[in-house]
Symmetry: C2
Subunit: 276 residues, 2 copies
Amino acid sequence: MFAIGDFARLGRVSVRMLRHYDALGLLVPARVEPSTGYRSYAAAQLSRLNRIIALKDLGFTLRQVGEVLDEKVGIDELQGMLRLRRAELETEAEAARARLLSVEARLAIIEAEGRMPAAEVVVKQIPAIRVAETTGIAASYESADVGPVIGPLFDQLCSRLDAAGIETVGSGMACYEPAADGVLIHAALPVAVDLGPGSGFEVVDLPPIEAATLVHHGSMDTADFAVQQLGRWIEANGYHSLGYARELNLECPPDRDLWVTELQEPIVKTARPGAA
Amino acid sequence: MFAIGDFARLGRVSVRMLRHYDALGLLVPARVEPSTGYRSYAAAQLSRLNRIIALKDLGFTLRQVGEVLDEKVGIDELQGMLRLRRAELETEAEAARARLLSVEARLAIIEAEGRMPAAEVVVKQIPAIRVAETTGIAASYESADVGPVIGPLFDQLCSRLDAAGIETVGSGMACYEPAADGVLIHAALPVAVDLGPGSGFEVVDLPPIEAATLVHHGSMDTADFAVQQLGRWIEANGYHSLGYARELNLECPPDRDLWVTELQEPIVKTARPGAA
DNA sequence: TTGCTCCTCACGTCACGTGAGGTGGC
DNA sequence: TTGCTCCTCACGTCACGTGAGGTGGC
């Protein structure tokens, strides 16, 4: 028989853990001295302690460990638990790799620029949304080309929705689509009406996307750096851009320097990012 | 300005999280209506929320996130934090891989044997220990060869320690060492005296080892299966055996069927276990 | 009037670590 | 008497999730 301290040393666990397992009924001492409450453990109990430690190390909760040890789960259920754990561990390893990549990218940026980036890229699942939109075309993605097109498009869209008595239910968005002779530009406003063409606009459902997003402050004329930053982040963090970017106008007061815009770039994970 | 629910949807976080960040002073709403307590967030605050999410996703605690955002840490310290995180993430990925290997080994055992193994292998760091020992030789590792040697060795050792007035301070151990003409067998008992030779025994320090351990119940004549199990576990879990095994006699009453013995096999990690 | 959103507590989570305050045997 | 080990509470950890119980504007 071992005193709790000796048994703890033998099993490489803390005394506190043995008391905890006792309290949970996971590992009850072979004997408890009634007058003092002193716990004594039999050498043979080391097997059970080892099983507890081993199952815990696999990532099971103590509740699950107890159920397995007391044979409350059948062999099939046990296999199911192990397969579930396997899947969880795969996800966990994947997540650790992704974070590692991200930390390394950040270290590289600090190394190169001497400071943290001012804005942060965040990956978001963007749900489908119904919008009314009008479409124009610009010669290129540059703001000098886009600016003169997008402004009038929104003005037209607003007045036509107004004329049709349709209310908008969210922030305006610009969507960019590559085309043979330049860039198709969609000015879009969320609405809650049926699909189909209106007079001077169309009602469509934008598909849900996974996107890397970045908040830009100020006029879109100054957004080029942010767009580049977004592109670099996507490459450095194991993603691939799908093009067809969106911009969400979170705030657009008259003073364009006070604008707040969320840039959204649809992405997919690059197959097997690879470690290091 | 956004109500808390709208801002939460925008940032893909829960309302509860925004309140939590407010309570911590991490992200205070641009305005709080004094009469109702209603929170309002400015669009521009989305940047800060994104930074919080991004840093949190790297694995920093909210306390650390706050220190970074409020520039309480310099660039050097920040680099230090990121490098530390990188090391932690490498360890984490490694641990996830090791657990994955372990879960898969267990699934394979269940597949082959239709049940969980009765005893569990546990890896332990075994500290250095001073022992008095006598040495004999056996023809092989088989219990038929070992048994007749080890028993008398312990009897001799005990009586000689007794004669020398030396007390033992722990359980007896057997250590096995391969030799040209068989196996060297050391019978050892922990003592707290100076190093050097006694009469009929020697006092030496056993080195600390990392070992895979397994508890065997019953006579050592029936331990062969346990020894094999230990060997298979070592291979399946990305380790390499170093030989020179030890046995720790946790309990050895007259009835040998009631013996409890911990088998200890020194190991090292196999370089790059490799995933899957 | 019915929903919907918002508010403030405050408990629960998970496996212990870490005192506080006290006891029993060498 | 001094250490050492043992005991039982009970708070703290970390980032929220989840009610409970209630309010304000359409």
